[in-house]
Amino acid sequence: MKHGKWPLIVTFLVPPVLLYVFFVVSPYFQAFQISTTDWLGYSADANPVGLANFKTLWHDDYVWNALKNNAILLGLVPVLTIVLGLFFATMLAMGGRKGSAGVTGVRGGALYRTVYFFPQVLSVVIIALLWKEVYHPNKGLLTTALHGLGLPAPTWLGDPATAFWCVLAVMVWSNVGFYVVLFGAAMSAVPKEIYEAVLLDGASRFTTLRRVTLPLLWDTVQVAWVYLAIFALDGFILVQLMTNGGPNFSTDVIGVRMYDTAFGSETKFGYASAIGVVMFFLTLSVAVLSLRIGRRERIEYS
């Protein structure tokens, strides 16, 4: 494939590279540059201020509050999602009857997988708006169900004490199904004889999950972890649409902080970019750390 390859390389590569550099690479570089200015918006001048924005950021209680919430999300959303995902995937893969045939999937497993995956194809906007109605303090599904049982109901998103946990629950709800399917696909690659041997040896289901399934699926779990961690550091759309960070900043996350700073009542573009830069380094370190900590030897089935 030597002769006449250049016309193809040029026509095939130049348009994508131009598009990519113009809309993706150049904004990223500009973001770092803008973060060191005091740029206030559409027409005002941008003066270089060095690292002043980052200094302000360090003393900004709203930013710290948002970061604290992101940290809690980071600590809980990946764990809960992965545990539930592994649990349901295990149930589906080997919850069936154990006859002499060995390990079988549960009845109706395909239907469960189809249904569990629903939230994944829905737009986050729809999920946020729908759950906002589910949490509605008067006519919502949850309140009326609790009232129907004669129990008192909290005001869910209206109460600073509960709002954050309500948002967190939706994050887990919207992600679990995807990981059930993902882990299920990874489990089906594990030879069934391994499970049969373990069950014959009398291992309990929990032990099997912890000592056999988890190590075998480690690569997949690790990727899931990185993704969910990045998701937990973002969480912008769900929060913005369900609570807009309220009540009383109890559900605020760093993404909402940045959006409000840039496109809210005031347009502090320099400061917003500084928040963006911090988010970038946080995301990067979380991704690198989880890959580092989770590194193990690969297992290959012969």
Partner: protein
Amino acid sequence: MTTLDQPTATAPNPVTSGDRPVRRELGVANALSHGFLLLWGLLTVLPLLWMFISSFKTNGEILADPWGLPGALHLDNWARAWTGAHIGRYFLNSLVVVTGSVSLTMLMGATAAYVFARYEFRGRQVVYYLFVGGLMFPVFLALVPLFFVVRNAGLFNTWLGLILVYAAYSLPFTVFFLTAFFRTLPTSVAEAALVDGCGHFRLFFRVMLPMARPGMISVAIFNFLSHWNQFLLPQVLLQGDASKWMLAQGLFALSVSQGYAGDYARLFAGLSIAVLPVLAVYVAFQRQVQAGLTAGQLK
């Protein structure tokens, strides 16, 4: 469960004694597992079902009895959402933009990936990693400058701007995935075609692209859903003229106005209009959709 009927005599060794309780435990776990699976299934379906049923109720019925069924099918809710709240228009807007952006992404992604996978030239690695490096960066970081890049290019509040931006931000994953896919295709076919005097361009469009179809479909589905569900970019880049909005923006506006007007039925109808086609397509092509999205995860 039937596990208890297992003839223990078939295993005449010391394990047998310890075997029975384990199997009984599995039997109990079996019933439990069905319970948990069903519970999660209900948790997933119930909000969606509630939304759908509520879209046929009157506002009075929704407030008085949220769990009840509609007394009659009030299709006028759907009409109010479709025309009154312009959900129909937003739906078509999204369809036009996403068709454009996915086509552009696939064309640019496939051509670039093909070059990376099949041609040797100086600087190939550098350009490839320039693309793939984009996988690590959150869109957030670029948001502020991107707004000005788009505005200065005269593309602010235009669909073309949105299409170009969607495509640009989808290139890292698309290029990464398709490069790997083109590399798996056999080289012998391409070499034979070239020997037979087939040109490089013809080879790509007539031979290689058709061979890459499974990979193309997976990435196209992945891109379609991520473009269709996009909210942040249109909210920043398509702020003005409400007649050009994407579906997600229209639904958000509907939800906000519902807060004042108290027209819950219209909101539920609007959400249902947005959900049903996506769910229908998903159920029809679920194997491809699941494969496409999980491939996206395992990049």
